[in-house]
Amino acid sequence: MMLSFEDFPPGHFGTFGPRRVTREEILGFAAEFDPQPMHLDEEAASRSMLNGLSGSGWHLCSIMMRMMFDGFIGRTASLGSPGVNELRWLAPLRPGDDLTLDIEVAEARVSRSRPETGIVTFKGLVRNAAGVALCEMVTPIIVQRRADIATGQAG
């Protein structure tokens, strides 16, 4: 049974993970998408504002997406997202971090332009094993309403 708009009332939705992030993953993502010394080179990273090798913020976002997929998006009648209202990188992602993701539904409303869908605004918070918040994101996702999954009208 796919999750639909009706399954996302405002409030705490769930906690997902842990997800281990390895040094190899951090270096691999940085080499392809964000080859700044603070993400690639231990020596340069130790002299940066972040005091040591850290993962790219876009890597952390992408891992957060994957944790959302594994946690619930993969079984949700999701039609995609129009964007991210706000994203804050609060502390560096380090090699070997075990991440957990807390998901809260900040708002859920039926779409005015496509009433067979709803817009669920999620607030996600990623923490490391020590409980330090690394990244916070507020993002709306378009989700089908239950009646329309049953009749197959949308999607």
């Binding site: 993502f29 392809e32 998408f33 964000d34 080859p35 700044q36 603070m38 940066s48 504002m49 972040l50 850290s54 790219s56 913020g57 876009w58 890597h59 976002c61 992408s62 891992i63 997406m65 994957r66 997929f69 998006i73 993969g74 999701s78 039609l79 995609g80 997202s81 129009p82 964007g83 991210v84 209202n85 706000e86 994203l87 804050r88 990188w89 560096p92 378009i142 999607g155």
Partner: protein, 160 residues
């Protein structure tokens, strides 16, 4: 890379373009965003996107890739002129990220960056805070991606 004092509001730079191949879209999606419309042509066609669509995080990560490459080109040019190099600090985040239109297989996105605001950092007087609007435009001239990003930029006379 420029120092805080050398940055002007409204300055726009083209930072390069990137073609999203079907293989590249699927590879990123398999790792980070394995929703069917990012992995499979048929599922993409049936979705709101109307074709195999790149993950929005892929579109954003490529923007970062081109910004970093552009910054490294600027550093090389400044070094060649014998100038002092400004090493930009990390970003505290972004706002107003919009995936305005889907990026489909074989689309070529041209990215640009424009300075929107400048302010001093209260906690770190040796740094300034810059907000830039980064955008992506496809081969038909349609705006597909926009984000208002924040970065710490060093001041010219901040000491060592």
């Amino acid at each position: 890379m420029r120092f805080f004092e050398d940055i002007e509001i409204g300055r726009r730079r083209d930072v390069g373009s990137f073609t999203f191949t079907a293989d590249g879209i699927k590879k990123f999606a398999a790792q980070f965003d394995p929703q069917a419309f990012h992995l499979d042509e048929e599922a993409g066609r049936k979705s709101l996107f109307g074709g195999l669509a790149a993950s929005g995080w892929h579109v954003g990560s490529v923007c970062m890739k081109l910004l970093v490459a552009d910054g490294q080109r600027l550093i090389k040019e400044a070094l060649a002129r014998g100038e002092k190099i400004a090493v930009w600090g990390p970003s505290p985040g972004f706002r107003e990220l919009r995936w305005i239109k889907p990026v489909l297989a074989d689309d070529t996105i041209s990215y640009a960056s424009e300075v929107e605001s400048l302010r001093s950092s209260e906690k770190r007087p040796e740094w300034g805070v810059v907000q830039v609007r980064n955008t992506g435009t496809n081969q038909r001239g349609e705006l597909v991606f926009s984000v208002l990003a924040t970065a710490f930029v060093p001041r010219r006379n901040a000491g060592p």
